[in-house]
Amino acid sequence: MIDYRARFRINLAIALCGLAVFAIVPFVANSGLVFLAGLVAINIVFGLCWNFLFSGAGLLSFGHAMFFAAGAYGMAVVSLRMPELPFFLGLAFGSACGALIAMIFGYIALRRASGVYFAVLTLAFSELIHIYITKTTFLGRNDGLVGIPRPTIDLGPWVLDLTSATSYYYFIIVAMTIAAFALWCFQNSPAGRLIQAIRQDPLRTAFLGAGIRGWQLTAFVVSGTIAAFCGAVMVPFTQIASPEIAVWTVSTQPILFTLLGGAGHFWGPAVGAILFGAIAYGTRAMQGLSDITVSVLLLTVVLLIPGGLLGLWQRRRRKAGGRQPGQAGDDARPGTAAGKVEARQ
């Protein structure tokens, strides 16, 4: 029997601790690092929603850049072309763009849901979206949309001024904490558990009366919407939406975060995203080595510690003295990719 209430409290605590740590950054770091931390916070949720699809629903997407870009461009279009609309409507519109794309392409791609086919189809769709953006004058073609303003939000008695990079940074980390925790709640809701059950044993779940395609599509849309939300939140921060965020290498980012951190853990991608941010910062003045660094690191992780950093940490802890009761109880959900890897070793 799993104590969901205890899990809920623990994960809420993890999310709030993360929020607290990110909240300290502007007090100790210069504005470049604050900016990087804001991008890392967005990347964390980008990674989490990808891993929800991967470890939760068993779908490998190689096209998450299209959702991210859809959200970013949706937000950019609203704030540049319709500045009278409220900020939150822009966020909602951006997320809705992602949801719509996920619905259409998910419907097509899931006709061939088996892993690698699905992956390549999402890659092709993502490339189509990229080409569409570079050819649409309304979306600024190759140069992108620049000069996106940061909002001032009117909350009745209070006015929330997010025009400075630092105040917008705080908005980002709060929004990302809420998104991350909402995703956790969904993954652990009855619907989320059903999606995981499909991943583990589609046949048996189908016997129980669940429509597999429908639930997989649901997972795809949820993941796409959150990825689009990440893109929409990012755009006022960077003040630019350029086609570079729709290139397929962006789709590999959440995959790298997840594998590095550990796919078998809900917070694995968060660890990976933070580590990646640190690597990007560490190699910022290096010449011509970043490709080799990243590839060697990835190969090492995939071949030697397929459970990712959290998997490694957990295995060591278990060796060191058994599981401590009641702590981080959901770390090793069986049936997730890492669990599968470990079980086979």
């Binding site: 504005s31 140069d143 086609p243 003045a285």
Partner: protein, 421 residues
């Protein structure tokens, strides 16, 4: 336990405080003495590093030149390099981080999207950037921002110069076509080419130019044969192309057996400098190429000779390309502006750069105060295959055109108007 100090704890503490060093805001530390930091944010990894390397060497040689001559008001320049990964997000992180640690003067942008992202960013953070090869016309037109300068050619001066020279030297050519990348850059260059051609040909000859629809080719494709077949159908005497880098090499390689280049009289290449020729050697089709800086055209200019000699010494490569000179000029522009303003503060340096006249490897440049665009010579060279030259090609003709005659009028904040080129 928490109070017990042990060796490991101390080591951890030292490690933590070393790690914290970059986190501390250094803006207060930029004093009125000591070295002046200048940030170079340019691609240091990935395929575009090819261009980033020219920028790096050019900036280093420029800084060495200033420092050897006593620095700026006695203070040496110190370059701080950051990898932009040719991506607006990574470049933004780097630019903000540099401003945050007191390096408000920056250069090295080579991609248009990055250049456009820098304006609003540096305006809110307090910094300046000099782009060293970004090709978009928007930075001195509709997206003009006082914090972004361009010391190199505007796309207008480059392409209008190319057209005017060809029309003057070959007035017999009326029928033109184009092969351009399906990209913002391609469209801009074509727009300028077409407008200038339609104006220059009647001025010279009294007859109208016949210009065919341009052929759009995709980026990064391995196969251009269908586009070459389209080009073969065009009834033209000259072809203009702004296809770039590896794509241009692939295009030329595949076009050669079709005989495309034998069919036409002149091939105009907007910007490849020696990129195509060094790749293709004696198979290079004869063509005119626009240059940021061609050292032979500036022989006798001590800055140019110094840049060339030091570049060859540092790399062993005898074909430096123009980005090196743009980065070199950017450093010299900063030196001139800081000297003029007597300060390294952002607003003072902006004021110093506006209207600045300074010497560079391409002779004197003048930065227009209205739109932050430099007026400089437009240089072109005619590259031909050669059986005797060791590299397989040689430059048989070159010109350097007066910048004032080819640059567009300053119209900051407005779209480029091709009717008055």
């Amino acid at each position: 336990m928490a109070y017990k100090m042990n060796r490991r704890g101390i080591v951890k503490g030292i490690a933590a405080s070393t790690l914290a060093v970059p986190f501390i805001n250094l803006r207060a530390a930029t004093a009125q003495s000591g070295p002046i930091p200048i940030g170079v944010v340019t691609p240091l990894s990935g395929p575009v590093q090819l261009i980033g390397n020219f920028v790096r060497h050019g900036a280093e040689i420029g800084a060495a030149h200033v420092n050897d001559n006593g620095g700026i008001n006695g203070r040496p320049i110190e370059l701080v390099f950051r990898d932009s990964k040719a991506n607006p997000n990574d470049a933004s992180v780097a630019a903000r981080e540099l401003v945050g640690s007191g390096t408000n003067l920056q250069l090295g942008t080579i991609s248009s999207a990055v250049a456009l992202a820098m304006g609003p960013l540096l305006e809110s953070e307090g910094g300046v950037v000099i782009t060293t090869g970004a090709g978009t016309e928007k930075i001195n037109h509709e997206n003009y921002n006082p914090h972004v300068f361009r010391v190199g050619d505007s796309p207008v001066s480059r392409n209008a110069g190319l057209v005017r020279h060809i029309v003057e030297s070959r007035p017999d050519l009326r029928k033109w076509g184009g092969i351009i990348p399906d990209h913002e850059y391609g469209r801009t260059t074509w727009k300028i080419f077409e407008a200038t051609m339609r104006k220059a040909v009647p001025e010279m000859t009294g007859e109208e130019a016949e210009i065919a629809e341009p052929i759009l080719v995709p980026y990064g494709s391995g196969d251009y044969r269908n586009y070459i077949a389209q080009a073969m159908r065009m009834d033209v005497q000259g072809i203009y192309t702004s296809v770039y880098g590896g794509d241009a090499v692939t295009l030329y390689q595949q076009a050669k057996p079709f005989g495309l280049f034998d069919k036409i009289d002149v091939l105009l290449d907007s910007a490849n400098e020696f990129l195509v020729a060094t790749a293709m050697g004696d198979q290079t089709p004869a063509h005119w190429s626009g240059f940021h800086w061609y050292y032979e055209a500036n022989k006798g200019n001590p800055l140019s000779d110094d840049l060339y000699a030091k570049y060859v010494e540092a790399t062993g490569d005898t074909y430096p390309m123009g980005w090196a000179a743009e980065a070199h000029a950017a450093v010299l522009a900063y030196a001139g502006a800081i000297e003029k303003a007597g300060s390294t503060e952002t607003d003072d340096v902006i004021a110093g750069l506006k209207g600045l006249r300074f010497d560079s490897a391409t002779g004197e440049r003048h930065i227009r105060a209205e739109d932050n665009q430099a007026v400089k010579n437009a240089e072109l060279a005619y590259i031909e295959p050669s059986s005797t030259a060791p590299a397989g090609f040689e430059v048989t003709d070159y010109v350097s055109l007066d910048g004032e005659k080819v640059v567009e009028p300053a119209r900051p904040g407005q779209m480029l108007d091709t009717s008055n080129l």
